[in-house]
């Protein structure tokens, strides 16, 4: 390497500056030293002082029932079994699964609610741990979305558009803000299955980079085999042997670099080195043997088991500790069309303790202030029963018009309950929060003006919030 060579220096700056043309910023960051290039990302970002440095999104895939978890509706006790009034339904569209139902009987929840903490937030008995930390959370009861089916609805929540092709939240953040860690990916994804129900499929587009360069896509950490695809050396290749291999490979590549002075070669050498470092840093991250017993008590015994939601929550904390910008969990199985009273408690049991533990753990370590945590699904569920009303069970169809999510940390005012829904939990009464509004607020907490984080593609400036998005100012501390 000849750092004094003006052509190389210039082109390095050039490629770094261009961002999109194909040089791994992380690699260059390593080559040039952190100070020289900050940490990747766009130079004009953050747009203002960020409240949060990291985001952990606990996505509950399938559509958790707000009626049975958060949005307490005592009037349903009396209304139980009565027909949903047309004045409430207002002809709004239903999914094809219940559109042909001739009757829409209102169904109360079978679960008990009570108020928690100083804030007095209502939480159902299914989420005792969440209830315990309710004062640290902010509930949005008036989340609403445009899609009524899983695929478009999840895609909308993760990319700001119902159809495939747009970058995910994490990819936008990786593109805009870059990384604070040279040895781990900027954006990490983990998926788990619920025991209540296997659940709906997920898609790589949910953490994809869309039209942004592919290096901004989320890296999925797996619970089976290599935590990162192709991370382990093949059998028979020890770390020492890999080192030897890389030394010789670099020596050969440097000869090529002398010939061509192509910065791509230098980057490639650096990326092989980063790969080598990841081979150590990722297993170190995933190795929980150093975590004390108290941590497993906090997160729950299932945190010892690879692939569980609890394990992923714990790893999420470890990722944030190491400076990873964006952690996205997907937990499946929240799609209770029927057998809700049987399935929902299992879903809650799998997730409640660990979600709360993550908040407490971050808080104890002083990380909650700089970490924004989001909990929620792609839509809620209907107040009316899907299928027969029986003595033994009930189910609820998809409901996009109002549902509950919660936020914590990252400069969000704790202990608030935002927005009001009607007695049927069918429509928003006040303070609606659209998906774009949520996205705008998430970006804002990370120091990003959502109208200014744009990328030109097909002749248009695209952004996560499309042409919408208003900050939820009441929630911003």
């Amino acid at each position: 390497m000849k750092p004094a060579d003006p052509a190389i220096r210039m082109t390095r700056r050039h490629f770094f500056g261009r961002g999109g043309t194909g040089v791994g910023i992380a690699g260059l960051a390593h080559l040039l030293g952190r100070d020289a290039v900050s940490q990747g990302g766009l130079p004009e970002l953050p747009h203002f002082a960020p409240k949060a440095k990291h985001i952990i999104y606990l996505f509950q895939s399938g559509g958790p029932s707000q009626l049975d978890l958060f949005d307490y509706k005592p009037r349903l006790e009396q209304l139980h079994g009565t027909e949903l009034p047309d004045s409430v339904r207002r002809g709004q569209r239903l999914t094809g699964m219940t559109a042909s139902q001739t009757s829409f009987p209102v169904h109360k929840t079978w679960f008990k609610f009570r108020q928690h903490g100083d804030s007095g937030a209502w939480v159902s008995e299914l989420l005792p741990h969440t209830g315990r930390i309710a004062d640290k959370l902010s509930f949005i009861r008036t989340m609403h979305t445009e899609a009524i089916n899983h695929d478009p609805a999840v895609t909308f929540f993760q990319t700001g558009a119902q159809l495939a092709g747009r970058p995910s939240i994490g990819a936008w953040l990786a593109y805009g803000l870059g990384s604070e860690n040279d040895d781990l990916p900027t954006f990490v994804v983990m998926t788990s299955r619920g025991s209540g129900r296997v659940g709906q499929a997920l898609y790589t587009r949910l953490w994809g980079s869309g039209f942004l360069p592919s290096r901004f896509q989320g890296v999925k950490f797996r619970s089976q085999g290599d935590p990162v695809l192709y991370l382990s050396n093949p059998e028979g290749v020890s770390r020492d042997r890999r080192r030897m291999f890389l030394d010789d490979l670099s020596a050969l590549n440097r000869i090529q670099q002398e010939q061509f002075a192509d910065p791509e070669i230098e980057t490639r050498i650096a990326q092989y080195e980063m790969a080598f470092r990841m081979q150590a840093s990722v297993p170190e991250l995933m190795d929980l043997s150093g975590e004390p017993e108290s941590i497993f008590e906090l997160y729950g015994e299932s945190a010892r088991e690879p692939g569980t939601y609890a394990r992923h929550c714990l790893i999420a904390r470890r990722l944030v500790e190491r400076g990873v910008r964006c952690v996205q969990l997907f937990h499946r199985g929240w799609d209770q069309h029927r057998s809700l009273p049987q399935q929902l408690p299992k879903q809650c049991f799998d997730t409640d303790q660990a979600s709360a533990a993550l908040i407490e753990d971050l808080d104890r370590r002083g990380l909650l202030e700089e970490t924004l945590v989001v909990w929620g699904g792609e839509f809620g569920r209907t107040v009316y029963s899907q299928g027969r009303m029986t003595e033994t069970t009930y189910g609820r169809d998809h409901h996009p018009r109002c549902f509950t999510i919660w936020l914590a940390g990252g400069g969000v005012q704790p202990g608030l309950t935002h927005g009001e829904t009607d007695d049927f939990c069918y429509n928003v009464v006040s303070d609606p929060v659209h998906v774009h509004d949520l996205h705008a607020t998430l970006l804002h907490q990370l120091g990003v003006d959502h109208t200014k984080l744009t990328y030109r593609y097909q002749g248009r400036q695209f952004r996560l919030t499309d042409i919408g998005g208003d900050l939820i100012r009441e929630l911003i501390a």
Binding site: R13, A164, F260, Q458
Partner: protein
């Protein structure tokens, strides 16, 4: 010197520099980054003396003014349009005042919308333009290209063809000179990778190096263009554009079968089908006069979009999405325009109104399709798409059948006397002789003496039947049997019976669960039922996955009727036929969705379903269940209640068709002479064999038109449920009109795309080919040549190539040959210091291309040098190595059923592509996701790529087998073998220093393996292919590691 706009140098360069900065600025939205790149461009700028509207002014207006004063009528402020010459001219004075105003209230673009004041440069440009008269010119890409005169240039001796004149002229203006021609080894590797997607064999390299003929280069080019590998290579990029995949791409992401279309693409490229035909056949092959099977298959292009089978979706919502996808894909691929914006509102920058979007939409809105598609596999319209081999076999079978039929007819006709004698004796006999089709008969209940293997449940009786005795049902019992009629929604089957109902409602036969309209899995199964007197066949899956077909006619009460229901396994209501008394009945499809299995554990029941309330009251006789779809003739025969003797007694002219057929079939099947019987059996057998084979032929989804056409409306804000004004099909007004004479249909649109008057298609196409070879197009936004796209780096060259392409008869191979034989292409990719410094992205082409290989080429190259690559053109997709659990983790529908043998080693073009979880070793290397149309190539360089190339079993196994080839084919000494391996991958022998490193690397690896032989064995166990004998394992493992190193070399993964 490194110049930046910030350092004060900028203004010294004067005005020509300024507008260039502006012209470039809109190409990137990446803030500060753009500045680095702008100033470099500025250095390359030629001196320009006047503001050019299209190049300089329009971008300023588009960026700053059009959002409120542009094509979008809904957003237009002050009723002022600046995208039209007359209005802009009228407002010119005001524009100047407003943009330079310091009053924040008067200033445009307005502060209250968050706009900054225009820069001094932008203001200067607009001032210059307005002072010169505010003249307008069309956007360059909307004006048809004319053949430019190639300029005379400085390096005339280097010129190979016209391309070089345009490029060299540009270099002159930039003050740069062309790089030297690359050496032959580099050239042949570049050519092979570009034209076949594979590196050359060592022998091919050496032959080229040694070929002193002046035609040596051309001969290599011709050979490569004639290779069948060429079609595969070209198809790969076309599949990205056409968003080809093997699954639906939504939610559970079930499989589809579109590989028959992929075969068509590969063959089309190999046959060098002119690009205009290639276009017309894909867009409208179904509308061509007497369209061939191949032309129908070609239309699969417009059915490759994602499709949704999710339960509960709103059908129309997704049907609209498919049509939108077709419009957007066609516009991107052929017109290089982003029309998608106009779905919801008039385009803000390009002259494309919302109405025009829906006029394009109308061309694709007429497919007889649904929004909720079948899963798995193909939804109508679809067509069997036999491969060449299958087509050949089908032809052979048809010939054998024709032959057998002829033989049968001859023997039968010659047995006329015997037939008449048999008929005569039958009529006079008292035989108890009957006949019914027996092939595929699963169960038959005649209710003569007992119930056979069936059991009575509750009270049943017997009564005089249509034939002998019948089953009598009074509502308190039925007959059932386990194991009969266990059919699914994709099985073929038939039910038949004589019925004498006393009530209008009742289940005739079933294999189904209790029905309840609100229980997800209730009523699942198969039911043949009378409802309000009408005969219905129901195939019920979960929730609304139902097929229900009903007769229009009512079955009479209290008398015998024959009913037959057949199903062809198509999963469509159209596959159900109901017969009354042997004749096909007029039917309606009440429900027509079948996306879930219908099998149940219930028994087969006669006279009831699982729910006792819907029992049949009356008599049932001669129940038959077949494991196949009966033909019309057979249904007619079953509908003839008389036995053979009774029929024979009816005068021949008075017999019904069913009676006549029954007699004839009985004769050829059972009662005729042996010759006739064997000829009949032979014919039947051949026919069944052919039918079974034909059913195994994969289909392809194709385009078709409904008659009358579906009406098209503008959709307000793009929403499927907000139809506005009705529109007729039509093309974009900014482009030339359709020819007046032709009918205004999809075919007219297809021909309009490739009309030489169309300014876009040829440019867009040559630009994409250019991108494939040079890594970036002459227009670097190949998806958008509209006003928001980049301007061409070489406008004249682009036009020259476009005109040349059209005038050559859209000859793709000839176009590619022209490009790859140019001196421009042949330049070495090593640039001068000055060139690298001033033009790091090689925009002016002062050197050859150098970039990482596309995803599929990386794998194909590794397989090739390993000797593992299996060449087989076309066919279904294959499931290669993939890390365990990848699908299980996030997808529905279980795991990945990996293939083996040759399936592991086919070209990557054939790798199974699940849209929601694409093959990771493709996606890691920036492949398209195949979810939507992708024509632009991005390339990143990441640590995940390093891990992939080092550790993916595909590459580990390839390294191992490559190592073996080095050993066995590379020569006698270690040095020779290592050098040979290096040459196999890079097409050149190693330099001495490289050879030294290879040698010492090998030595170090060997030393390590010698002290740990288990490691060697473990490494050699990677992948399915066997390890060759005759070499020490430690040595082989060391070759494997060295081979892996060669496969990971920057030079190996790069085309240079």
């Amino acid at each position: 010197m490194f110049l930046s706009p910030d350092n004060g140098v900028s203004y010294t360069l004067g005005f020509s520099w300024l507008y260039l900065v502006l012209a470039c600025r809109r190409y990137t939205g990446e803030g500060l980054q753009k500045r680095f790149f702008l100033c470099q461009l500025a250095l390359l700028a030629a001196p320009v003396f006047a503001v050019d509207f299209d190049r300089d002014v329009r971008p300023v207006l588009a960026e700053n003014c059009f959002a409120c004063h542009g094509p979008d009528g809904a957003q237009r402020q002050a009723n002022l349009r600046l995208d039209q010459e007359d209005q802009a001219q009228l407002a010119a004075g005001e524009i100047l005042t407003r943009i330079s105003s310091d009053d924040p209230v008067r200033r445009m673009p307005p502060a209250y919308l968050g706009h900054d004041r225009l820069s001094e440069r932008e203001i200067a440009i607009l001032r210059e333009w307005i002072e010169a008269g505010a003249h307008w010119s069309a956007h360059w890409a909307f004006v048809a290209p004319t053949r430019p005169q190639p300029p005379a240039v400085e390096w005339g001796a280097r010129v190979q063809n016209e391309i070089d004149r345009f490029v060299f002229k540009r270099l002159e203006r930039a003050g740069l000179s062309p790089a030297d021609e690359a050496d032959r080894r580099t050239l042949i590797r570049r050519l092979s990778l570009d034209l076949t997607g594979l590196p050359p064999e060592v022998g091919e390299v050496r032959a080229f190096v040694d070929d002193r003929s002046p035609f040596a280069y051309d001969r290599v080019v011709d050979r490569l263009l004639e290779s069948p590998r060429y079609g595969e290579r070209m198809a790969a990029r076309w599949l990205d554009a056409a968003r080809y995949a093997d699954t639906q791409g939504y939610q559970n992401d079930a499989p589809v079968q579109m590989w028959g279309w992929r075969n068509w693409v590969i063959e089309a490229f190999n046959a060098n089908k002119p690009f205009d035909e290639f276009t017309v056949e894909q867009i409208a092959g179904d509308l061509l006069p007497d369209s061939t099977l191949d032309q129908l298959i070609a239309t699969g292009f417009n059915r490759n979009h994602r499709s949704n089978s999710e339960l509960g979706i709103v059908d129309e919502e997704y049907r609209v999405e498919y049509v939108v996808d077709r419009v957007e894909t066609m516009s991107t691929v052929f017109l290089g325009l982003t029309v998608g914006c106009a779905r919801c509102h008039d385009h803000k920058y390009d002259p494309i109104s919302q109405k025009e979007f829906y006029r394009l939409f109308a061309y694709f809105n007429n497919v007889p399709e649904r929004g909720r598609v079948l899963r798995p596999f193909n939804s109508p319209p679809r067509i069997p798409a036999p491969t060449r081999e299958e087509a050949r076999q089908l032809e052979e079978m048809a010939a054998r059948i024709a032959h057998a039929e002829k033989a049968f007819r001859a023997t039968r006709d010659s047995a006329g006397t015997q037939y008449r004698a048999w008929e005569h004796s039958l009529a006079r006999s008292d035989w108890d002789a009957d006949w019914h089709p027996s092939f595929g008969l699963a169960a038959r209940y005649d209710f003569e003496s007992d119930l056979g293997s069936a059991l009575a449940s509750g009270q049943v009786g017997d009564i005089e039947g249509k034939v002998g005795r019948a089953l009598s049902l009074r509502g308190d019992g039925h007959v059932e049997e386990q194991g009969i009629a266990d059919y699914d929604y994709n099985d073929r089957f038939s039910f038949a019976a004589w019925i004498k109902p006393e009530l209008q409602d009742g289940i005739i036969m079933s294999r189904s669960q209790t029905f309840d309209p609100r229980d997800e899995n209730a009523g699942k199964g198969l039911t043949l039922v009378l409802e309000k007197g009408r005969l219905k066949l129901k195939l019920i899956g979960r929730m609304d996955d139902w097929i229900i077909v009903s007769t229009r006619e009512r079955i009479p009460l209290d008398r015998w009727s024959h009913v037959t229901a057949t199903f062809d396994g198509s999963r469509l209501a159209g596959g159900v036929t109901l017969y009354l008394d042997g004749l096909a009945a007029d039917t309606v499809a009440e429900l027509d969705y079948s996306n879930g299995g219908i099998k149940t554990k219930e028994p087969f029941r006669i006279g009831a379903g699982a729910d006792v309330t819907s029992r049949f009251i009356g008599a049932i006789d001669e129940v038959a269940v077949y494991d196949r779809e009966l033909t019309r003739e057979e249904a007619a025969i079953l509908g003839a209640g008389e036995d053979l003797v009774e029929i024979a007694r009816i005068p021949a002219d008075n017999r019904t068709r069913g009676q006549r057929l029954k007699l004839e079939r009985a004769f050829v099947d059972v009662h005729g002479p042996p010759g006739v019987r064997s000829a009949w059996a032979e014919l039947a057998e051949l026919t069944r064999e052919r039918d079974a084979f034909a059913r195994g032929v994969a289909t392809v989804m194709i385009m078709a038109e409904m008659d009358p056409p579906r009406e098209t409306f503008i959709l307000e804000r793009g929403a499927y449920d907000k139809p506005g004004e009705k529109v007729l099909p039509g093309v974009l007004g900014v482009l030339p009109p359709l020819p007046a004479s032709a009918p205004n249909d999809r075919l007219a649109l297809a021909r309009w795309l490739v009309d030489p008057a169309n300014p876009l298609t040829a440019r867009v196409t040559v630009n994409r080919f250019w991108q494939m070879l040079f890594g970036a197009g002459l227009v670097r936004t190949p998806e958008n040549l509209g006003t928001q796209g980049e301007r061409p780096t070489h406008p004249d060259l682009l036009d020259w190539l476009a005109v040349e392409f059209v005038e050559s008869g859209w000859d793709v191979k000839s176009l590619l040959k022209t490009i790859v034989t140019s001196a421009t292409y042949r330049q070495e990719s090593k640039g001068s210091m000055k060139a690298v410094h001033e033009d790091p992205e090689n925009r002016v082409l002062s050197r050859g291309p150098r970039f990482r290989l596309p995803a599929e080429a990386l794998r194909d190259q590794a397989l090739l040098v390993a000797g593992l690559l299996r060449h087989r053109l076309g066919g279904p997709s294959v499931k290669t190595y993939q890390p365990d659990g990848l699908w299980f983790d996030i997808a529905a529908g279980g795991g990945y059923d990996r293939g083996d043998g040759d399936d592991l080693y086919r070209r990557s073009l054939y790798t199974y592509w699940r849209r929601t979880i694409g093959p990771p070793s493709m996606l890691n290397f920036d492949s398209a996701t195949r979810e939507t149309c992708t024509v632009r190539t991005d390339r990143t360089n990441t640590p995940l790529q390093a891990l992939n190339l080092m550790n993916d079993v595909t590459f580990v196994e390839a390294a191992r087998k490559f190592g073996e080839r080095m050993y066995f084919e590379g020569g006698k000494t270690l040095e020779e073998r290592l050098a040979h391996g290096f040459e196999m991958a890079t097409s050149r022998p190693p330099r001495p220093r490289e050879a030294e490193i290879l040698l010492s690397a090998f030595g170090r690896q060997l030393e390590g393996f010698k002290s740990d032989p288990d490691a060697a064995n473990a490494l050699l166990a990677q992948g399915d292919s066997p390890v060759s004998d005759g070499v020490r394992r430690t040595e082989l493992a060391s070759y494997a590691m060295t081979a892996a190193m060669i496969l990971n070399l920057d030079e190996t993964v790069t085309k240079q």
